[in-house]
Amino acid sequence: MKIKKGFELRDVCGEHIIVAYGKENIDFNKVISLNESANYLWKNIADKDFSADMLASLLCQEYEVDVETAKRDAQALLDEWIKVGLVEE
């Protein structure tokens, strides 16, 4: 998985906002705000190839969670990102 080209995380007024620039993303009309943990994950996987397992291990490194919970949360987040159209294969 990879974050689509033109998608970028920016900090506006203390919020972590995802914007999609460029002509190819002209139809993307959402402004997405990330919470702290999603922000942490995004910063670590931007410009990289990643998987749900990678997100889970990042969560385990930063937060005190067991592997099962981390995996479940990572998968849920990734599903959400796929649904919204932030990532591609």
């Binding site: 620039y21 460029g22 993307f28 009309n29 402004v31």
Partner: protein
């Protein structure tokens, strides 16, 4: 004029203009009242400004009614791009005071000095320098269609809108009954 008479005139205008409203809405899409995530205007436009200067063209929703009838609040988005120079008739994103941004149209250009006015504003104008401008609207994105800023029909309409400024108040009244 007292307010109840005003209301009656408004309702009458809406009623009389129903066929036009139907056509206009079909062509352009409707104004929605969906809840949206809103950011403080100046901070957000400052960030957008920064992006444009980095060479990243971007489409945004614009808040407010000052660009009526060409940009409608909650309905339209505009695609902004950076240019080397800007001309009269361009709708631009500009910093008009420290930390204060507007998206208005250039109505006068003298050297580097620009005068801006919102299409939907009657008297109010803003002043800035050309280097305060970070981008120009190149596409008007409406729910049912997208209009490039250099579309000849649109350019003609914008020119007429400027010429008819003395009666803008009344044209806006009609527009409000149609939108």
């Amino acid at each position: 004029m007292n307010s109840s008479l005003k209301t009656i005139i408004k309702r009458l205008a809406r009623f009389l203009l129903t066929p036009w409203r139907r056509r206009y809405r079909k062509r352009n899409g409707r104004v929605t009242n969906q809840p949206r995530h809103e950011l403080p205007n100046d901070a957000w436009l400052g960030e957008v400004s920064q992006m444009l200067r980095e060479g990243k063209p971007y489409a945004i929703y614009v808040k407010g009614y000052s660009m009526r009838p060409f940009i409608e609040h909650t309905r339209d988005r505009v695609f902004l791009e950076k240019r080397d120079s800007y001309n009269v008739g361009d709708a631009v994103l500009a910093q008009i005071a420290s930390g204060h941004y507007v998206l208005h149209r250039i109505i006068e250009k003298q050297g580097d000095h620009l005068t801006l006015q919102g299409d939907g504003n009657l008297e109010q104008v803003e002043h800035c320098q050309e280097q305060d401008v970070s981008g120009v609207v190149t596409q008007y994105i409406r729910p049912n269609r997208t209009i490039p800023a250099d579309d000849p029909k649109l350019v003609r309409r914008i020119r007429w809108w400027r010429r008819l400024r003395p009666i803008r108040r009344y044209l806006l009244f009609i527009y409000k009954a149609v939108v």
